[in-house]
């Protein structure tokens, strides 16, 4: 493993990435994951163009109608096309997933890097907070935060970002701690580099790989968390379609029109599955030891 790492660092970064892309191509599960993610993003971007119906167009003559040639995923209690609503709902999912995880990675890696690099009291305080948030269920923390900031998409994003950052802080802190003691940091320092350049130019790029993997899987989890909050009525507010809210409304009609619940759930499951597959493959590609991720 160590010699592996050494070879890895000799290869120039560009070639390293080419090699990684090649590795994805040769991995079927990873390719499937990549396809799912790409498909999801494409759908989110073009939902207006590819939806057969408008997401809010009500057709009260077609309430709760089962899947048919016209509405192949059926309609909901207002006669709205479930398929079109799922396509539009992907927007919220992608938006919340990417933005919330992006924010939490930003926050987490910044704090984690500083804590790992400087150590001391800051590090200890941070470790306590990260350990606590880590051991509490995400849903509890998110609920608590939603209780504070209120319901709605932006609030959900903030809640998820504040729930997730600890995990990335923990990861990057561990990496920085490991890298900090390597000789080349000493060498760079003796060349007159400042703490800032050492941390962000030399250590950070080398420490970020496991965070990228965790973030990939994290986006999937964030999408589920968003849907869960949406299901509890605390996510995007109507009429904006979101998968969680769709299923929440659907529960009342579970026995009459189960498709309203089944299809958004399937969409979500495929999405999360895609992010997980891709993340698992990234572990492999980036030569990350699995135990760093636990």
């Amino acid at each position: 493993m160590e010699t592996h790492q050494d070879q890895e660092s000799i290869i120039p970064p560009a070639n390293r990435w080419i090699r990684r892309v090649k590795k994805i191509k040769s991995n079927k599960a990873g390719l499937l994951g990549a396809f799912i993610i790409a498909g999801l993003i494409l759908v989110a971007l073009t939902a207006d163009l590819i939806s057969p119906y408008s997401y809010k167009e009500q057709d009260l003559t077609m309430m709760n109608s089962p899947p048919s040639t016209e509405h192949f995923m059926g309609t909901d209690e207002f006669g709205r096309d479930v398929f079109s609503r799922i396509l539009h709902g992907s927007r919220i999912s992608v938006y919340v997933g990417v933005v919330s995880v992006g924010l939490s990675v930003l926050l987490g890696s910044l704090l984690g890097a500083i804590a790992g690099y400087y150590g001391g009291l800051l590090d200890r305080g941070l470790s306590l907070i990260t350990d606590l948030t880590w051991s509490l269920p995400e849903i509890l923390v998110a609920l608590l935060l939603v209780a504070v900031v209120g319901a709605g998409v932006e609030c959900v994003i903030i809640a998820i970002a504040l729930t997730y950052w600890a995990q990335y802080a923990r990861l990057i802190r561990g990496q920085i701690l490991m890298l900090k003691n390597e000789i080349y940091v000493e060498a760079t320092r003796s060349l007159g580099a400042t703490d800032f350049t050492i941390l962000f130019k030399h250590l950070f790029p080398n420490a970020i790989a496991p965070v990228i993997v965790a973030a990939t899987i994290g986006i999937g989890q964030a999408i589920v968390l968003e849907a869960t909050l949406g299901f509890l009525g605390m996510g995007a507010q109507p009429p904006t379609p979101s998968w969680g809210a769709m299923m929440s409304n659907g529960t009342a009609y579970l026995f009459i029109s189960p498709w309203v619940i089944i299809f958004p759930g399937l969409a979500m499951m495929i999405t999360v599955f895609g992010f997980n597959l891709f993340g698992d493959v990234l572990v492999d590609i980036m030569d990350i030891r699995e135990d760093t991720l636990k």
């Binding site: 051991s135 609920l143 209780a147 299901f231 189960p258 999360v272 599955f273």
Partner: protein, 308 residues
């Protein structure tokens, strides 16, 4: 060993304080006064003033916290603003439903997850392994509430086997426990598999073969025993994650547990209820983590010695 247990127990005190501060302060940082929710139409200023005094809302936050904490130790978590009943009484009513669900779910995820992990590791790289791991991945990724709804649909509606919801009987525990348990089982199955494969590659396994031990004995007696150590550690770390599922699942199955109490409280902005249920849930998880830690120390002789 007991020293370790005691030290670990003492560690729960600061954790408890941090948690209580977080839970208390977050709710009181909210812009706007919680009292606004209480003030109905036709309420007089005097009435309002009385309420403010009753809930100590006119005092500075640290004082409010101190009062809250002091009351907490007296076993008084305040009175529900909406239901006008003591929060402790509500908690006592809701706790058993969550406790039974949580414990059953954990037991289920452990048994199911470990069995799946063993199967997968024993049949590494065969279709059994791949199937088990796909199932495990689904278990991890499916949101609990959706799984709950689908299970209701299948078992209660289409097959008409189990009750849709309710809380009294043992049968009504099956579906919610399976719903929560599957997620945990997926997680545990994945860890068990990785951990078993890692142990299987150790030198001493070859020596067990050299002793003439059969594959099965090696797998179940030696590999599994060693592999369970990290499984327990991670279960301890992620016990909250498993139990987090109970909150939404209680909503889906209309089970009057702490999760439902919490969510209802959230909707009504009933702060004493939110605080009380959050605190109890969080303490439950901290306690679970503690138990897993102790169990871990007991299963691994190396760790046991470190603490002696």
């Amino acid at each position: 060993m007991w020293q370790f247990v005691i030290r670990r127990l003492l560690l729960m005190i600061p954790i408890f304080f941090v948690l209580s501060v977080i839970i208390f302060s977050l709710i009181h940082i909210v812009p706007g006064n919680p009292i606004d929710n209480l003030i109905g139409p036709g309420m007089t200023k005097a009435h309002e003033q009385k309420l403010i005094e009753k809930y100590h809302l006119d005092k500075p936050l640290p004082v409010q916290y101190a009062i809250w904490l002091a009351n907490l130790f007296k076993g008084d978590l305040g009175t529900s603003i909406i239901e006008k009943r003591p929060v402790t009484e509500l908690l006592r009513h809701h706790l058993p439903y969550s406790l039974s669900l949580g414990l059953t779910a954990i037991a289920l995820s452990f048994v199911l997850g470990v069995s799946m992990g063993i199967l997968s590791a024993a049949a590494k790289d065969t279709w059994i392994d791949h199937m088990a791991m796909v199932v495990a991945l689904f278990g991890v990724t499916i949101p609990a509430f959706w799984l709950g709804l689908i299970l209701i649909l299948i078992f209660a509606v289409w097959l008409n086997l189990l009750p849709v919801s309710g809380s009294g009987t043992l049968v009504s525990l099956i579906l919610p426990a399976v719903t929560v348990g599957l997620g945990g089982a997926g997680l545990i199955a994945r860890i068990t598999r990785v951990s078993m494969l890692e142990v299987a590659s150790k030198d001493f396994i070859v020596m067990l073969h050299a002793k003439g031990l059969g594959k099965k004995a090696i797998l179940l007696k030696h590999i599994l025993r060693n592999a369970l150590i990290p499984v327990i550690t991670i279960l301890g770390l992620r016990i909250g994650w498993v139990l987090g599922g109970t909150v939404t699942v209680e909503i889906v199955f209309a089970r009057p547990g702490l999760g439902q109490m919490l969510i209802t409280g959230l909707f009504r902005r009933d702060y004493p209820v939110i605080q009380g249920s959050m605190l109890l849930l969080a303490m439950g998880i901290v306690l679970g983590t503690f138990l897993a830690d102790v169990l871990y120390a007991f299963t691994d002789p190396r760790v046991r010695d470190q603490h002696q």
